[in-house]
């Protein structure tokens, strides 16, 4: 220890920089390069991902524009409008059929209950009782007859013409095919022109048929048949209401037909709008593909909404408890537990959702929960299950038939967001200077007053940014939603609180599900990238807002 530091005396030479290092680069530069390089890699990779995403995605819009242009030019769009109307009418008819079945069953029961001299008399009575309804149903069915015929004509022809053009275009992309055997652009244009000309020619007929359809339907609905059985009566009333609603929509369809113009070009803005506002995501269709993001975006937002509905109170209240109320023993117990949740692989949580959580909710909604047959514990659980069953009976959106729905996925995602929200909110509360708490308590404030009036307001921006980062976590989650959300691609029908029990698909889910199967560089492939871009922007926005809030918060606390 007592060794003397051997140091030469102070001369110009002794304090000179020592040469050395590697390949003429000195050591400190090397170290700097090592650390800086790692930081740089992260930035470069992020830039590459962004660039790649946009390069692949942006191409979607011209392609979609072209696709939709063909759809319009061939006159198929008009057929599509009519087809949508007919589809809706078919749905209506299905409802009527259901009523018919109910009526038939009830009538049969009634007849079986009586004495009849012979079989023939019995069936004659049955026929008599149901005849009026049969006639009514028949009139409903035939009301759309003439229109249906025209629609079919237009539909088949326009689709064929467009198919021809599409097939030709697809073949052009295959190498090794003699281009001269294929249709050139002029010919294709001509073909499309012919197709839409035919539609134009049929227009008066269509309008006429449409008018007839409306008049027929009005007439039929004006005189509903007499129905004696209870279920039939109720069903018929419901059907009449639905049909009236449909009738009210018909002028809307007529206006659309009037406004229809096949010559109007389908602009790139329309393609953009069709993507951002579109309510249909239909791929590999024999009719026409649509790439509208709303079914996916609405699903993502719904799942996220449900998740945050549960995760915000759980995360924030747990943070307040641990930070303010719990003693150190409880803190040491609770904190690792909550943080451990984030270590559970999401696919495992997904399993749990499919097998346990979703099923439990379905069973509860349908039959009520049965407590297990265990002494003591069973009766305690029985008490709770009675309460739950009582609640389930009062919820008008129960029973539900799908165990996989937005609620199941959201409930599990809440579990995954809780650690993020909890940890960051707890940090935010920790950062509240102790001086504030002391001052408040010295003023004679109770614990709760201090928490409520000082701690939470001071930490609020931190808590909000914690929630936003939890939101970011949830909206980007894929595995759980893929397994538990039900994956039905449609904008959920709004029916109050029950909406959350509808199966949905999400933006992340659709990318994971379909990316593996699409043809590279096809429009479908590009559409998925566009969904990715939307997701990217959404996450960017959330993180940006969270950062702004955090920054403001730091200034506020000096």
């Amino acid at each position: 220890m007592a060794e003397k530091l051997s140091q030469s005396s102070f001369t110009a030479e002794s304090i000179q920089k020592k040469s050395g290092g590697f390949l003429g680069v000195d050591k400190s530069t090397l170290i700097k390069g090592l650390f800086g390089g790692n930081a740089l890699v992260a930035i470069i990779v992020l830039a590459l991902i962004t660039f790649f995403l946009f390069r692949e995605g942006v191409e979607f819009f011209p392609q979609y524009q072209h696709d939709m242009s063909l759809y319009r030019k061939s006159g198929q769009e008009l057929a599509g409008l009519l087809k949508a109307e007919m589809d809706e009418y078919n749905e209506l008819q299905k409802e009527l059929e259901a009523v018919q079945v109910v009526l038939a069953t009830e009538t049969l029961e009634e007849i079986e209950g009586k004495e009849w001299p012979d079989e023939n008399a019995k069936w004659a009575a049955y026929g008599e009782k149901t005849a009026a309804f049969q006639n009514y149903a028949e009139s409903i069915r035939s009301a759309s007859g003439p229109l249906k015929d025209v629609v079919e004509k237009v539909r088949d022809h326009t689709r064929e013409m467009k198919e021809v053009v599409v097939v030709q275009e697809t073949r052009k992309q295959i190498t090794g095919i003699d281009l001269s055997t294929l249709m050139d652009e002029e010919e294709a244009e001509k073909l499309l022109l012919g197709s839409r000309q035919q539609v134009k020619d049929l227009m008066p007929e269509i309008v006429e048929a449409h008018k007839a359809f409306r008049e027929n339907l009005t007439l039929v609905l004006a005189s509903p048949p007499k129905v004696e059985t209870e279920g039939g009566k109720e069903g018929l009333e419901d059907f009449q209401k639905e049909a009236e609603k449909f009738l009210e929509k018909i002028p809307g369809f007529e206006r659309k037909l009037e406004k229809y113009d096949a010559e109007k070009p389908f602009t790139i803005w329309k393609a953009l709008g069709g993507f951002l506002m579109g309510t249909e995501w239909i791929t590999a269709s024999s009719w026409q593909d649509y790439y509208g993001i709303w079914p996916l975006l609405s699903g993502s937002l719904m799942v996220t909404g449900v998740a945050l509905f549960f995760a915000i109170p759980m995360g924030v209240f747990a943070a307040i408890y641990v930070n303010q109320i719990a003693n150190s023993k409880e803190q040491n117990f609770i904190k690792p537990f909550i943080e451990f949740i984030s270590a559970i692989p999401s696919v495992v949580i997904g399993f749990f959702g499919v097998v346990v959580f979703g099923e439990l909710i379905r069973v509860w909604s349908q039959a009520g929960l049965e407590p297990p047959d265990i002494p003591v514990i069973g009766s305690v659980l029985g008490f709770f299950s009675n309460i739950l069953n009582g609640i389930a009976l009062r919820l008008d959106f129960f029973p539900i038939s799908e165990r996989l729905n937005a609620f199941t996925a959201g409930g599990l995602l809440a579990l995954m967001a809780v650690p993020t929200i909890f940890t960051l909110a707890e940090d935010a509360m920790n950062n509240v200077p102790k001086a504030f708490t002391e001052a408040s308590e010295a003023m004679g404030a109770t614990r709760w007053q201090t928490i409520w009036r000082i701690q939470i307001p001071t930490a609020l921006s931190g808590i909000i940014s914690a929630i936003l980062l939890g939101l970011g976590r949830v909206i980007g989650e894929t595995m759980v939603v893929l397994l538990c959300a039900g994956n039905r691609i449609a904008v959920p029908e709004f029916k109050g609180a029950g909406t959350v029990f509808e199966p949905v698909h999400t933006m992340t889910g659709i990318i994971a599900q379909e990316m593996g199967e699409v043809v590279p560089e096809s429009i479908h492939y590009r559409a998925l990238f566009c969904v990715g871009i939307v997701l990217f922007f959404l996450s960017l926005l959330i993180n940006y807002v969270a950062q702004i809030i955090v920054r403001r918060y730091q200034i506020a606390n000096g």
């Binding site: 408040s440 010295a442 003023m443 404030a445 109770t446 506020a556």
Partner: protein, 280 residues
């Protein structure tokens, strides 16, 4: 500050002696806080040893002594701020205010703190507006009447000699004020709830001389209405503001006397060494 109407801060019911720094008046002052045989521990470590002290009403009592001598600890015992410290505990003895043992089980600590206000070493206004800072103590008592709150804000800010400086920006954030203003705001906040006793834990240690002078002047005015106990590192300050001074060393009360006497003619050798700057 000097053109402030003095009558504003003095309620009619307070005909307390204004000039008190001569011996005859002091001995006549009534005892308000009585510390008896008081031992105090942080965990295993004893912080206060057998303290016996009688703090007179409506006077300024200063606690002096080197760092770690226990003066702040004793101060924090007077409104039970040490309750917030997990390992803190009382070993022996009692602290009585108006003859009531404040550590007895029947005492509601919230009610105690409403009567014994505190101003901290580092000014700690809440990150709220000036107005909300002052009204905080009233609002947590459930008082929300606007006209009354307005009145209290003005009275407290005048009492803390701050009204003229901030009356036009009552709703600005308190964190935008200067250090001295923030500390006076904390005093205003403490007197807004009309406590009997104000404890001050080195209130000027982070302030410049001008701000310090303002606070000292303020303390002099406040003592007509309040009993003040102040912890200070600065012996000049103790001589300037206090009527009585207690000297602590290593957790023990070494000497307690009228300030003038303690500084001019201390009984104890240690006190003398300390005040003459030979250690500490």
């Amino acid at each position: 500050m000097s053109d402030k109407p003095k009558t504003e801060s003095v309620p009619p019911s307070a005909p307390a002696p204004q000039v008190t720094r001569d011996a005859g008046d002091l001995s006549a002052a009534k005892t308000l806080i009585e510390v008896k045989d008081f031992d105090f521990f942080y965990g295993q470590k004893q912080a206060l040893f057998d303290i016996n002290l009688e703090i007179p009403e409506k006077l300024v009592t200063a606690f002096i002594g080197p760092s770690g001598c226990g003066k702040s600890t004793l101060l924090r015992c007077l409104n039970r701020m040490n309750d917030l410290v997990d390992v803190a505990r009382i070993g022996r003895g009692s602290i009585n205010i108006h003859g009531v043992d404040i550590n007895s089980k029947d005492v509601d600590v919230i009610e105690l703190r409403k009567r014994v206000g505190m101003v901290f070493q580092k000014s700690n206004p809440f990150p709220k507006s000036i107005y909300e800072n002052i009204t905080y103590g009233l609002k947590i008592r459930g008082i929300h009447k606007k006209s009354y709150l307005d009145e209290v804000v003005e009275r407290s800010l005048r009492g803390a000699a701050l009204w003229d400086e901030v009356k036009d920006r009552l709703h600005d954030s308190a964190l935008g004020m200067s250090g001295g203003q923030q500390q006076r705001l904390c005093i205003a906040r403490a007197i807004a709830v009309e406590p009997e006793i104000i404890l001050m834990d080195e209130p000027c240690s982070a302030l410049d001389p001008i701000a310090t002078a303002q606070i000292e002047e303020l303390i002099d005015e406040l003592k007509t209405d309040y009993t003040i106990v102040i912890v200070t590192h600065n012996m000049q300050q103790a001589t300037r503001v206090s009527d009585k001074t207690a000297f602590f060393y290593l957790g023990k009360l070494i000497e307690f006397d009228e300030t003038a006497r303690l500084f001019s003619n201390p009984d104890n050798k240690q006190t003398e060494d300390y005040i003459t700057g030979r250690f500490g």
